[in-house]
């Protein structure tokens, strides 16, 4: 279980998160929503242990993440940042292979099982055909999927070729669909849903896509100005009142007749109260 206890974070004097409590149960799929600058990415980085909260602490299965050895954390927790830029010419395959880092000893080389895991993750994310391409030459969406494959390659212990024991793994994603076309948005959502269901991977993602979040997540967290505004099941959180108050937009919320999912339709922009 990933647990944030009354965490705050400030960049210098500017406090961007204030007193957030968040419990992500094993196997949950949580979406963090909020307008630009509401602290979504900072919250994700705090959960990943990349930042140390100025107050409070984040624990993974009861142990404070910032106090654990990164290599141990990495076997159970992976993160896909919003964008990855590279100065050197690695291939997509190289990038995914780097996901095996936490499982290798100091001078150990990747073996056949690691290569197999990499191939599997490339296929899983629909990037097999890109494996020999230079990462820098990929499109934004292709990069996002390759980095996702790399993050997924971290989890497999690689010891057995058979089904993995379902350990507690947490996958954090920062706007995983921001540069994807419609088909890959759905494909990624489907993949995340499937990882979550069949392999008991806990998923936490931030996104601007309310409809995607409504369809995919079991639980939503709404942030505004660094404070937690609402949390709960999508249907309970995504009400015209809450969404309107968080995003300053009048919305219409419907149930789609074909798939029964909640759809959020923006209607008009509200003047933001000062």
């Amino acid at each position: 279980m990933l647990c944030a206890s009354s965490i705050s974070y400030a960049y210098g004097d500017a406090e961007v998160l204030h007193d957030i409590d968040l419990r992500v149960e094993v196997g949950n799929l949580v979406g963090i929503l909020g307008p630009n600058g509401s602290g979504k990415t900072t919250l994700l980085k705090l959960l990943a242990g990349l930042l140390t909260p100025t107050h409070g602490h984040v624990t993974l299965d009861g142990i404070e993440v910032t106090r654990c050895a990164r290599q141990e954390v990495a076997k159970r927790l992976a993160m896909v940042p919003q964008a990855t830029e590279l100065a050197f010419d690695y291939t997509a395959f190289d990038i995914v292979l780097m996901g095996r880092y936490p499982h290798l000893q100091a001078f150990e080389l990747e073996g056949p099982s690691d290569i197999n895991i990499v191939r599997r993750m490339l296929t899983l994310t629909g990037t097999s055909h890109l494996e020999d391409r230079t990462f820098r030459t990929l499109s934004g969406g292709e990069k996002q999927r390759v980095v996702l494959a790399s993050a997924l390659a971290q989890f497999d212990s690689g010891s057995s070729g058979t089904a993995e024991p379902t350990t507690n793994r947490v996958l954090l994603l920062d706007e995983p669909t921001s540069s994807l076309d419609l088909a890959f948005q759905l494909a990624t959502a489907e993949l995340l849903g499937r990882l979550n269901e069949s392999q008991a991977t806990t998923v936490v993602l931030c996104t601007h896509d309310l409809n995607l979040a409504a369809g995919l997540c079991r639980e939503l967290v709404l942030l505004r100005d660094g404070k937690l505004v609402a949390a709960g099941e999508p249907a309970a959180v995504l009400t015209p009142e809450t969404v309107g108050a968080v995003f300053d937009v009048d919305v219409d919320i419907r149930c789609h007749p074909a798939n029964g999912r909640v759809s959020v339709i923006p209607v008009a922009r509200r003047a933001r109260p000062s």
């Binding site: 990164r70 290599q71 993160m79 190289d94 936490p102 290569i115 990037t127 971290q154 954090l172 759905l186």
Partner: protein, 351 residues
């Protein structure tokens, strides 16, 4: 939908590919450095024969070829190897650390710091040796490490981590600050000393004996022991600190190790041969074109190629205008400059 319709089957592949490639590249580049190191001393005003140098039937005292090889010329080739390998490897490490393929071992103020140290010793007419080490070498090493210490302190001052941006900016600023001080000292110094100092800046591998190499070996050896452990973490650092940390790299520790080891190697190399430019940037680039971006291949291959390249440049320095000797720094820059410009243009065209 691509890729998500069915769970993919396992595709068996040859697993030892990477291991074989690693061995091949280590062996190939290692042999190149070794052969260069053995052949370079054969070139010179007196012709000598490698067979006679290692002829076991001749006693060393009677073997003139062996004496010329071992006593007169080998130290210089070894100095080239040591300096070339250090600068090229330090270049690779700093480029990864700064995530900038244009970084060199001298980007962070080392060469200016070293030059200032050497300049002060020469201009103030300080004693020639301290504890048997040439004072100029000692001063340039101190200057190099001092410059890096200042840059490092600045980069770690503000946040909990190491800011590579501050590292870069502080290094560039320090470079010009030190250069200004050097000009000022030169302005005040008498012309002979100024000339001597300028000669030092041009680089010279004429070490004379093995002693300077023995002194340089501890810092360079320590740096290479650290280098050996770094490559996989460096690969990840180039993806950015966040990606590296979530993949399991202790980012701050890696950055510190990379910075300190690269500084030691650069400082010692400069103390031996002066600030010889371009090795630290062209060799890593050339190697990446040959073997790809994986630092497990790039780092050792760059060290070997750097050694070979500098030895060859130094042979050129000794022989091109013989009996006059050219400064080796001039040769590396004259070869390296145009090559680097070509690289810049062609890589721009590619992207």
């Amino acid at each position: 939908m691509p890729g998500v319709s069915a769970l993919p089957a396992l595709r068996p592949i040859a697993g030892n590919h990477l291991r074989r490639r690693l061995w091949r590249i280590h062996l190939g580049f290692g042999l190149l450095a070794l052969v260069t190191c053995l052949c370079a001393p054969l070139v010179g005003s007196t012709n000598i024969d490698l067979g006679r140098v290692f002829d076991p039937t001749l006693r060393f005292a009677e073997n003139v070829d062996a004496q010329i090889f071992i006593i007169a010329r080998l130290p210089r080739a070894l100095a080239g190897a040591l300096v070339g390998a250090s600068l090229a490897a330090a270049g690779v490490v700093l480029q990864a650390l700064l995530r900038n393929p244009l970084a060199t071992p001298f980007t962070l103020g080392v060469s200016a710091g070293a030059s200032l140290g050497a300049m002060l010793v020469i201009s103030l007419g300080l004693p020639l040796t301290v504890l048997g080490i040439p004072a100029v070498s000692l001063a340039s090493f101190t200057g190099a490490i001092g410059a890096l210490a200042i840059v490092y302190a600045l980069a770690t001052m503000r946040r909990q981590g190491l800011s590579t941006l501050v590292l870069l900016l502080a290094g560039v600023t320090l470079n010009s600050l030190f250069s200004a001080i050097i000009l000022f000292v030169q302005f005040l110094a008498d012309p002979t000393q100024t000339f001597q100092a300028i000669r030092w800046v041009m680089g010279n591998l004429d070490v004379g004996t093995y002693r300077p190499l023995v002194w340089a070996l501890p810092p360079i050896g320590a740096a290479f022991i650290v280098f050996a452990r770094l490559p996989r973490a460096l690969n990840l650092l180039t993806l950015g600190a966040d990606n590296a940390a979530t993949r399991g790299v202790d980012v701050l520790r890696t950055q510190r190790l990379a910075f300190v080891s690269a500084s030691l190697a650069t400082g010692a190399a400069v103390a031996v041969g002066g600030p010889i430019g371009f090795i630290g940037i062209i060799i890593p680039h050339l190697v990446r074109l040959l073997v790809g971006a994986d630092h497990r291949l790039v780092l050792p291959a760059s060290a070997c190629l750097g050694a070979a390249f500098l030895i060859v440049c130094d042979v050129g320095a000794r022989t091109l205008l013989s009996p006059m000797e050219l400064p080796v720094g001039v040769i590396t820059a004259m070869l390296g400059g145009p090559f680097f410009l070509w690289l810049l243009v062609s890589s721009h065209r590619r992207s």
